[in-house]
Amino acid sequence: MTVVRVDGERGLALCASEDGARHTVETGLVDPVSLGDSVLVHAGVALVTLPG
């Protein structure tokens, strides 16, 4: 999924999937994310930030 909005204070990000659907994602398990980052998300949690 691609990060489209970041709420660093709450450790959340809005992410868009391949089909355009958007989901709130918990980002506490990865280094701080930025707009445009690709993340591997499972059950609403980013587990890995994919290399740019």
Partner: protein, 371 residues
């Protein structure tokens, strides 16, 4: 789409299939187990087994979280869902898993408030929005999903959301793999390791497989070229007499896993002494329960549930399928009494189940067309 299209190139796939063919020893039969149901799904979706030589057999493992949930746990979920003021939440594929007297979807039809959620965070949101109801999350999944439940419980505790709780059915992948390696029913030559579980636990915990059992492991991604390359890496290890853990999925899997996720899990969960796996019986230290620090969120403490062990239906052979002893088409009810629309066994319910993968991609017969 980055990370997708470049791993689905058909020309590269055929080239990789040629390298696999050149690596195998004629006359030798290779049995490789893909542990994860996500791999099983990709293998049949993309026709990967049709690209393999006839003497390379893929055996499907127990890594489908919905498939391994025993009937008794489903019955417990239904019993809690039917209690007054309870809203039970779960992932979509859990809704149709059969218990002894129906599914969670059947309970919903009887009037229970059962809702599908995308993540445990959604369940927590429902709890915040409905303070007059008890919101229970039916948690399933391997180490890939457990961090999500753990983080949600941490949030619930920090926010003091007292009407939220969890039926914890999280399981761990290594004990059943060890059980399979100990099984006299099955001779395996190597393992395609579960890439997504390894994003959390890393590749290192799999080192006991080559060290103690002399079988190679390749941690694999889920796109067609990932899986073909992993098969090639396994066959190359066998051809060269090597036996080790290799990481094909390095773009995603750190060798030591996600340390933050492991730390959160260690805080929120502890190992159960034993847990029942559908078709595989009780396996020691193979599942998680909430730790003492989080027991206030344990739905099994908060609500009464039968907690009874229920035998699988006699006609269903999911256990043998999950252990890789038989192929789905060898089950007596596959594709006849048991279909995705009317599943008897769990392997037909989840898209990651081997039976559903065979059925959905037309592998209804035993013949395999090798190209």
């Amino acid at each position: 789409m980055r990370y997708v299209e470049e791993f689905r190139d058909p020309e590269l796939g055929h080239a990789m299939a040629g390298e696999i063919l050149a690596t195998v020893e004629p006359g030798r039969h290779y049995k490789l187990m893909e542990v994860c149901g996500g791999h099983t799904h990709s293998i049949y979706k993309y026709g990967i087994d049709d690209l393999l030589p006839a003497n390379v057999e893929l055996v499907h493992g127990p890594g489908c979280p919905v498939c391994v949930i025993p009937m008794g746990r489903v019955d417990d979920g239904i019993a809690i869902a039917l209690q007054p003021r309870v809203t039970l939440t779960c992932f979509g594929d859990m809704l149709r898993v059969p218990g002894s007297r129906g599914t969670l979807l059947d309970a919903k039809a009887q009037g229970a408030d059962v809702r599908m959620v995308y993540s445990p965070l959604d369940a927590l949101r429902i709890a915040r929005q409905n303070p007059d109801r008890e919101v229970v999350f039916f948690a399933i999944g391997f180490e890939t999903t457990a961090p999500s439940t753990a983080l949600t419980l941490r949030r619930a505790k920090a926010e003091g959301v007292a009407n939220f709780s969890c039926i914890c059915n999280h399981v761990t992948i290594l004990p059943p793999v060890r059980a399979l390696l100990e099984s006299p029913d099955l001779r395996l030559d190597g393992f395609i390791g579960p890439g997504h579980v390894c994003t959390v636990v890393g590749a290192r915990p799999f080192e006991f497989i080559p060290a103690d059992y002399g079988r190679p492991v390749v941690i694999s991604g889920f796109e067609p070229l990932d899986i073909l390359q992993s098969i090639h890496m396994l066959l190359r290890q066998l051809a060269e007499g090597r036996c080790e853990v290799e990481n094909q999925y390095r773009r995603v899997v750190p060798y030591d896993g996600n340390l933050r996720a492991l730390e959160v899990m260690a805080d929120v969960f502890e190992l159960r002494p034993h847990f029942e796996w559908r078709g595989m019986g009780f396996i020691s230290h193979s599942a998680l329960k909430l730790s003492a620090a989080y027991e206030e969120f344990d739905a099994e403490r908060r609500f009464s549930a039968p907690g009874v062990r229920i035998a699988d239906p006699k006609a269903c052979q999911c256990g043998e399928v999950l252990k890789g002893v038989i192929k789905p088409w060898e089950c007596k009810v596959f594709g006849t009494a048991c279909t995705p629309e009317h599943a008897i066994g769990t392997c037909m319910v989840s898209p990651e189940g081997a039976c559903a993968a065979y059925y959905n991609y037309g592998r209804l017969a035993r013949t395999r067309q090798v190209v």
